[in-house]
């Protein structure tokens, strides 16, 4: 319905009233907000990474968040539903692992290789997307991802087939905590790119493309160029994220990059909230750490309780339930989010984010300023 309006502009054009009053109080308005943010910063930047078991999961969260941002460019901004992001992601992962392990490319350069490979394959899909749109595009990207998984990722001399292509981290990143900060840097860069993109003419062009390609073209937007740009940018980010994953785990195999991963990527982006940067990052982090949260935090006791309830005290049923409970909770949360709150996490936390960005607190907020145009027609059949 509404075209996405960057928050800053939104504030600027907002009708005066309470906003202006608030602004005159300056520090008093910002102090509580900073106080609320501080513990978050402390937990996420210091406490969690310094836990040996949680640091790798935090790195996963960063990697997934980059993929989420990459997917958001396509689905959220441009309105192209891609179900083949496991392909771009995997290309990046294998490219990095192969160039490092087999070709002895320096560590830093492997990220360039991964980004280039991701971009190249995304460019191909972009060209396809010029002709094939809507749900058909979703289908062809899905098959694309699966084909890569079963075909290219199984080519022995590139990927070592089922055995997997190893990718060892350099010494300074061996510590999981350092590696988390390393991934975090990449995430920040990705966020900055995303931020700049939306601020620029290109970003507005992408949003226009999503609303209506023909109208956009009539306004002089080069549809071909911007569509390709969106794909290439998305593929680049996914490729880099793939490279990070390769180093995070130390090995890449095709069977870890299948249909389920492609689904997970789309789900986390939608659950996070299409079009919302913060929402996507939160959604991705949640999906990356769901298993860990359910196994290693206090949530575990909630989970055990659930398991007992669901299995009616039957021992066999209990083991079955145990093995499927993480997926169950994930799927249930997903369905609840979509049916009750199609705007995802971003919509759910919008009162808080609005307050943090300097506006007065209101539970219902103004819907217009929420993650833009979730209700709009994102993908047409």
């Amino acid at each position: 319905m509404s075209v996405y309006a960057p928050p800053a502009e939104d504030a600027a054009v907002a009708p005066a009233g309470r906003h202006r009053v608030g602004r005159s109080f300056g520090p008093i308005r910002w102090l509580p907000r900073i106080l609320v943010l501080l513990p978050f910063v402390y937990w996420f930047l210091y406490r969690i990474p310094s836990n040996e078991a949680a640091a790798p999961i935090a790195a996963d969260a960063c990697i997934y968040a980059i993929v989420g941002l990459s997917l958001n460019i396509l689905i959220g901004y441009t309105g192209q539903l891609s179900l083949g992001h496991n392909g771009f992601f995997g290309i990046g992962a294998f490219a990095a692992a192969y160039s490092l392990t087999v070709r002895d490319v320096p560590f830093a350069a492997t990220f360039v290789v991964a980004a280039l490979c991701g971009a190249l394959f995304a460019l191909f899909m972009g060209v396809v997307a010029l002709r094939i749109t809507g749900l058909y595009l979703a289908l062809i990207t899905l098959v694309f991802g699966l084909t890569l998984e079963e075909s290219l990722f199984e080519v022995k001399f590139l990927t070592n087939a089922g055995a997997g292509q190893p990718a060892d981290r350099p010494e300074f990143l061996f510590d999981d905590r350092n590696f988390f900060y390393f991934c975090l840097c990449f995430l920040l860069v990705a966020l900055y790119i995303d931020y700049r993109l939306l601020k620029s003419k290109a970003g507005r062009a992408l949003l226009a493309l999503k609303e209506n390609e023909r109208v956009a073209e009539a306004f002089g937007i080069n549809v071909t160029a911007f569509k390709l740009l969106a794909f290439v940018l998305s593929g680049t980010l996914a490729g880099v994220a793939g490279a990070l994953l390769a180093y995070r785990i130390g090995i890449v195999t095709a069977s870890g990059l299948g249909f389920n991963l492609a689904l997970t990527f789309v789900l986390m982006t939608v659950v996070g909230g299409l079009g919302s940067r913060l929402g996507v990052v939160l959604g991705a982090s949640l999906f990356a750490s769901l298993g860990f949260l359910l196994e290693s935090t206090w949530v575990h006791s909630v989970q055990s309780f659930l398991i007992n309830v669901l299995s009616f005290g039957n021992e066999t049923a209990k083991t079955n339930v145990e093995s499927a409970i993480v997926g169950f909770i994930g799927a249930l949360g997903l369905l609840l989010t979509i049916v009750l709150n199609p705007g995802g996490i971003a919509q759910q936390i919008s009162p808080i984010t609005r307050w943090l960005s300097g506006k007065p607190f209101s539970l219902h907020g103004d819907k217009e300023a929420g993650p833009a145009s979730v209700e709009g027609s994102s993908v047409r059949a």
């Binding site: 406490r47 836990n51 790798p56 087939a161 089922g162 055995a163 290693s296 935090t297 759910q348 539970l363």
Partner: protein
Amino acid sequence: MSLARTVRKRRGLVVAVLAGALLTSACGLKPEVKDQLAQGGTGGGGGTTGGLDSGLGGTTGGTDATTTGGTTGGTTGGFAGGSTGGTTGGTSLTTGGSTGGSAAGGSTGGSTGAAAAPVQGQGTTTGIDFKNKTIRVVLHGPLTGAGVPQNSFKSGGPKYWEQSGPGGGPRLILGGYKVIAEAVDDKYNAQDALRACNAASKTAFLILGGAGTDQIQACGQSQVLRRANVPYLSSGVTETGLGSLPNYFATSLTYRQQSPLVIKMAQDNGFLKKKWAIVITGTPNFDDARESFTAELKKVRAQGAVGDFSDKDIFLTEKAPQNCVDVGNKLRAGGYESVYFLGQPLFFGQCVQQYPSATYTGPGPSFGIQSVADLACRTGVAGFKGFYLHPTPDKAMSQGLAKGAPAFTDDIEAGIWGAMQSLEQAFNLVQGPLSRESFTAALAKAGAPGGVLNPAVYNGGSRFGGTGAYVNRITCNGTTGAIKTIANYKK
């Protein structure tokens, strides 16, 4: 519609609950994890400063204590003595040691004998809980993904440590320590296996590879495991890349070592002279298995014992093929009578379904034979028969259990039970206080006599220590598969 609307009205509540859950879950880590953290931190620190002192005290205390008790007593005493000596100023070290030794030695030492209890700060003792006297070991296996019963991977370990001790109770080792064996899912792919192993290296004393070649190889080669000196024990699979690792041990015959035995098995049971096909996963980790068996088959073919066999009779498959239609067609078209099969259990079930008339053999799906046989038999393939080399025979299954313990549900459970039996033997080999380093050194020097499994012998040499394998015959007994051990082949 109205339902959705009411919930939408309560959005505030939903927001609050979700936000609260997220926040608290992120912050409130389970106490266990926190404990492990604290232990890792302080334990590491103690290792460098206190370790030297207590080491000196330990030896003195140890010699004193051996007269009264065992080595266990010696080290416990030594540790106590060392720390006392250290605090007093280092000159009275010997005195501290001897008093400590005699004090603690007599009581704990006598009961356990040669093996030594772990000591905090001596070597890497991650995974040992000194307060609750537990040692945590992790077993990784395909709880999902390969289509085998996951319950057996989980229950095999506890069945040994919790139910197979005296009177059906827990088994305690090293002077009262209890082993907690936990199974984690590797999802039948190397990537998730390595992820699981690396995570386990932070919390477990050692890691066991349950099944799955690619997964075992990935974990075996893990840098993280090697640097943290995590002992890694697995059933014998591939030899590629695992030959010279300091922390790796194969507890049964590798696929390459099994190849001549498969030929012998075929000869003894009368299916060697048939027409052969090889159906094998196309991973590089099966190259050694495929090449060695092909070579063996060609060798006996040259002696005229096998009919036509060439490389066109080898069928490579994907890692997790979705069905066996194509391979089934080819087996049927070629009229093969004996099939050497190495691959995923679920795929195996599908192939038997497609082409039941051959005799299937090989290392087989090296785990989950029972469930696969049940599947094959229940779906009406009554004529199905197979011969496998497998470390876990039915005879040993019946021998292994203590009185009062429940029977095994399948070969996976029995196999893991057997692996735990060998693990206990390995724990008892350790000289001096238990640590990852002392465990590795002790096991590498000797081996484990086994019981359910054939002995594993390392003797300071190759880590592919398997010495033999049982021959198991599978037939259909109504709708369930019946496994019978008919021989024990030595390498």
